[in-house]
Symmetry: C2
Subunit: 264 residues, 2 copies
C-alpha cells in the first residue's frame, strides 16, 4: 500500500495512492493521523473511491511528527568522505518537526553552505513498529552544522527538510537491500548506493532507539546518507539558486525540490 | 505571575499559583495551552477563584512542548570541567518532548552513568518571546552522551528530564543576573553559580535561534548548566538509587526528584 497526504480545499487529507489515482481516507488530515488509528488503516486497505491523481498536491506525509530521529555516519562511503572513523554505535541527532517541508516545495538557501543528503526514512506505526518508508532530504547548513561540536543547529532550519512523496508499506517495498538510492543535482548523479550498504540497518536502528525513546506513530527515522555530498567534493559544491535536487529509491519514487535564494 | 499545570480529577489544568493557593484557568490543560491563547492569559491575570494549594499535584508546566532546545557549554566553570574550549556560538542540541517528566516524579537510573545538570529554562509565549522561566534538570546519561560525537542519545531518555515546578513571568522574576542557581544531591551542594555568569544570556540565545527556528508557544530553552556535575568530579560520582536532586533558583522555587533503580 502507498499512502500520501494531499491538499484538499483549504485542508489536507490522508489518501491511498496507486498509479495515477488517489482514494482519500476521510477523517484523517495526514498519514500521521492515519497511522495512529487502526480503524483508519482498515479503511485505507478497503479504499475504493478512486479519483485521478493529477488534481492533488502532495504534502509531506506526516505534517508534524513528534520526533525526527536522524543518524549520521551510516554508510561507509560517507564516513570516509567526512574524515571520520567507522562508528560502533549509531550517531543520533534530531530535527524539529517544523524543520520539514513538502515534496516539490522550494527550499530557501538560508546560508552560504546549504547541502543535500539523500536518505531512506522509516515511518513509525501504531505499535511502534516500522509501518512504511519514504524519502527524506536531510538538508544541512554545513556552516552551522560545524559551528560547534553538535550538528543540530545545521540540521533543523525551519521548513528546510523535504520528505515524501509517499509512504510505502514494507510488504509492498520488499527487500531493502535490493534497492538503490540515487541523488541528482540538476540531473547530475551525485550519490548512488545500495541500501544494503547501511552500517546500521533499520532493525538495528529501531533496536538501538528502544533503549531511550518510546517511538510513537508518525515518528520518522532518517537512516543516514551515502557518500557524494557537496561538502565533501574538492572543492566543496554547495547548492546554488535554482538547483533542483532529486532523490530516488526504486519503489519509493522521487523527492524533488528546488533550492532558491528567493524564498523568505 | 506564577503559572503551573496541576492534576485535577482524571485530567490536568493550567492555574495561577501564589503562596499556598491556586486558581485554575478552565479550558486550558496546561501552561503550554494557556501561553498559546491571549484570552486565556487575560483570564489568568484576572484569576480570583483561589483554592488551597496543598490539594494539587504539580506537573511539568508544558506537557508536550514542540521543541526543547538545549545549550551546552554555557557557563565558564562547566566548559573548563568538561575539558573544552570557550565557545564562539551556542552549542545547541535538543530533547524530545517525551523526555520530560514532572516535579516530584521518580526518575529511572536507566544506565550506569546518570548525572544531573541544574538549569534555568525559558518558556516561550504566543509571540515567540520569553513568557516566563522555570527550572530544568538536564539529566544526562553520560555513557550514551559520549558514545558518539553527538550528545542527543544521552539527553533524551524517556521521561528522564524534570521540569518545573512553576513558570514565573519575567516581570515577577526580575533581573536574572541577580539570581543564583544551586543544585544539591541529598542536601550536599554540588552546583552554585550566578545566572549572570551565563556565557550566552537568554536574549542572545533567542537571537541565535531566530536564524533557524520559528519559536512556538510552550517551547523550552534550557540555558545550560554551571560547573559541578557528577561526571566531572574526580572520581566521577553518578547518581545512585534513592538519591534526591534538588535544583533551586531564588524566585523559581525548587525542582526536586528522586532517582531510583526501581522505576520501569
Amino acid at each position: 500500500m502507498r499512502l500520501a497526504t494531499l491538499r484538499r480545499g483549504g485542508g489536507t487529507v490522508a489518501a491511498v495512492v496507486r498509479d495515477r489515482e488517489a482514494a482519500p481516507v476521510d477523517g484523517h488530515a495526514d498519514v500521521g493521523s492515519l497511522l495512529r488509528d487502526e480503524a483508519g488503516m482498515d479503511a485505507a486497505h478497503a479504499a475504493d473511491a478512486w479519483a485521478p491523481f493529477d488534481d492533488w498536491e502532495l504534502l509531506r506525509p506526516v505534517l508534524a511528527p513528534g520526533a525526527v530521529l536522524c543518524v549520521g555516519m551510516n554508510y561507509a562511503g560517507h564516513v570516509a568522505e567526512m574524515g571520520r572513523e567507522a562508528p560502533e554505535h549509531p550517531t543520533w541527532f534530531s530535527k524539529l518537526g517544523r524543520a520539514l517541508t513538502d515534496p516539490g516545495a522550494d527550499v530557501a538557501l538560508a546560508t552560504a553552505q546549504v547541502d543535500y543528503e539523500g536518505e531512506l526514512a522509516a515511518v513509525i506505526g501504531a505499535g511502534g513498529e516500522v509501518a512504511g518508508y519514504t524519502l527524506l532530504n536531510d538538508v544541512s547548513m554545513r556552516d552551522y552544522q560545524f559551528r560547534t561540536s553538535q550538528f543540530f543547529a545545521g540540521k533543523t532550519w525551519q521548513r528546510s527538510t523535504p520528505v515524501g512523496p509517499v509512504v510505502v508499506t514494507p510488504d509492498e517495498l520488499g527487500d531493502l537491500a535490493a534497492l538503490e538510492l540515487r541523488t541528482e543535482v540538476n540531473g547530475e548523479l551525485r550519490q548512488r548506493a545500495s541500501l544494503g550498504d547501511l552500517v546500521f540497518g533499520v532493525d538495528e536502528l529501531v533496536a538501538d532507539l528502544a533503549a531511550f525513546v518510546r517511538l510513537e506513530p508518525g515518528d520518522l527515522i532518517a537512516t543516514g546518507t551515502p557518500g557524494g555530498v557537496g561538502h565533501a567534493l574538492k572543492p566543496p559544491r554547495y547548492l546554488e539558486d535554482g538547483d533542483v535536487v532529486a532523490i530516488t529509491i526504486d519503489g519509493l519514487g522521487t523527492l524533488r525540490n528546488r533550492f532558491t535564494a528567493a524564498v523568505g
